[in-house]
Symmetry: C2
Subunit: 359 residues, 2 copies
Amino acid sequence: MITLTVELGVRSYPIVIGSDLLGSSGLFDPYLAGRDVLIVTNEIVAPLYLAPLQKLLPDCQVNTIALPDGELTKTLETVNKVFDALVAHGYGRDCVLLTLGGGVVGDIGGFAAASYQRGVDYLQVPTTLLAQVDSSVGGKTGVNHPGGKNLIGAFHQPCCIVSDTSTLKTLADRELSAGLAEVVKYGLIADAELLTWLESEADALLQRDPDHLNHIVRRCCEIKAAIVAADEREHGQRALLNLGHTFGHAIERCAGYGEWLHGEAVAAGIMMAAAFSERLGRIEALDTERVRNLLSKLRLPVHPPKVDPYEFLAVMGLDKKVSDHTIHLVLLDALGVASVTADYPSHELVDFLSAQLIR
Amino acid sequence: MITLTVELGVRSYPIVIGSDLLGSSGLFDPYLAGRDVLIVTNEIVAPLYLAPLQKLLPDCQVNTIALPDGELTKTLETVNKVFDALVAHGYGRDCVLLTLGGGVVGDIGGFAAASYQRGVDYLQVPTTLLAQVDSSVGGKTGVNHPGGKNLIGAFHQPCCIVSDTSTLKTLADRELSAGLAEVVKYGLIADAELLTWLESEADALLQRDPDHLNHIVRRCCEIKAAIVAADEREHGQRALLNLGHTFGHAIERCAGYGEWLHGEAVAAGIMMAAAFSERLGRIEALDTERVRNLLSKLRLPVHPPKVDPYEFLAVMGLDKKVSDHTIHLVLLDALGVASVTADYPSHELVDFLSAQLIR
């Protein structure tokens, strides 16, 4: 078990990472003892981990809401159901929400915590690789709007994250790979060594070797914690974490939410970002090839779906990385180095999308 | 025209108060020039002040959403309509919302700004006395839940408040009085001199003398700005601003949202807080009498509706001023001095409610 810290002054909080943490009594006591707790989880995760989690909360008033699984659940309507549960149990400002599940559950529960009574505490217990390496850290919460992904939400930091990597044993293969897409992202924006390691250790990772899983969760959280500490509200470098996401969000939206897993769309989005970077002469064809091979090895899609390029562009224009009607993209300068830029000819993007999306 | 400042470090912002400000060209330029603006207003206010406001925004892309008037509009569903408008117009992170109207419009527009794309700018142009003296200042935004008032929301500070007191000319008498309830509140918690002034100047106020209106808007904003600067998130003294509000919110909820104006419920709530303070021996019967006379003079209700006391108590228990299942109340120690306390025998509250609510 290791503990990292997201350094945000008085709002700093720990990320606890390790195996079998849900068997570790007393783990939540500093945060939850004696409090009103609402566990926000989903129908897949609840039968697996709700009972062991509840055992760790002997002194709490615990209630649970289990949401349907999947991205289609990530709506304002679902958040309202969480509010209904909080009100029905008479929970006050001093209650705490505990999210048990993947990124969808964390985003919904976190936004409900941000908005109930203008902000109550919450604690993340991510049970998917994607949530453990990425979405549980950093306080981005929110839901989708029919017009775009994550368009409604809040920055609201949790008071603790507990990442029990043993929960990854029960994860579907497709979900495991989806999480690895975000791991590749961390390598591409900040850590060339991690990329090399992923290339050589892909098999052990896909076989869920515990040490390998602990290693990547730790390394990604280290990178993300440093970025969030430096730029909590995404005025600068935090935007690098969106590599592949502007393209990826458009893929999710155009394919219909829930068709592609978020991580799958991010993988194809990373591939598009790499190919567009190459087209602009920022990286070599060999670099793009390396990214494609690694993603394929991790059983991730490397092609976007067939979509009308102009529809795709319009959806990209609604993504949050748009400022003053210019689409800011995260592009690669090398493998391990990225930057946010709107400094490209817009016709290049149109031509690129036409080539990529119609095929 | 005078300008106060709400001192919150890098998030400090001005409150501009005066007559005929909506005829003052260039007033909004520092905040809005060249930007995408969504005006959030209502169907009563739009025909009166939308045209002059739009004239002040010559360089902006302006769109408008006009909501139905009244407290019943203050729901998550309405906020979602504001999101729909923002998405339909393709507005990005750099857009700004401008709320034109009373407290309901400000609370909805402010919460939409807090949550759209995880937070965009907004600017308040309050057109009711209640919004000018109280609700537009301090960043409390939110909507009602069927279970209780303002249960869903965010702290999100505006980037500027423009209070044109000339807009109060068109305010309904009932709305004017409702605003005066909050003015009485400021006197009771912080400024005995203001109370005396209100007692002598009530007639001129009700006749809407411009100097009198400018005076009370300025004085209330001075008091509120100081309290918010000292305690933005209501961990301490900001709770004093809730005098009459725990009782008042229960009145609004039990009578059905929209039956009582917020300010009317606050007036009856202030009266209950004074009477309960007297019952506990904190103030004299003469003090209570003075409060009753002043509220009556300002054409405000001084009795709660007939409600089942136990239902009323249950609703009070859901109010946000509840911590650890104890109902914290703002009670008077003298006229001009108040404190937040849960230090009273709970049977006293039950007996008091029975006496007040059944009659």
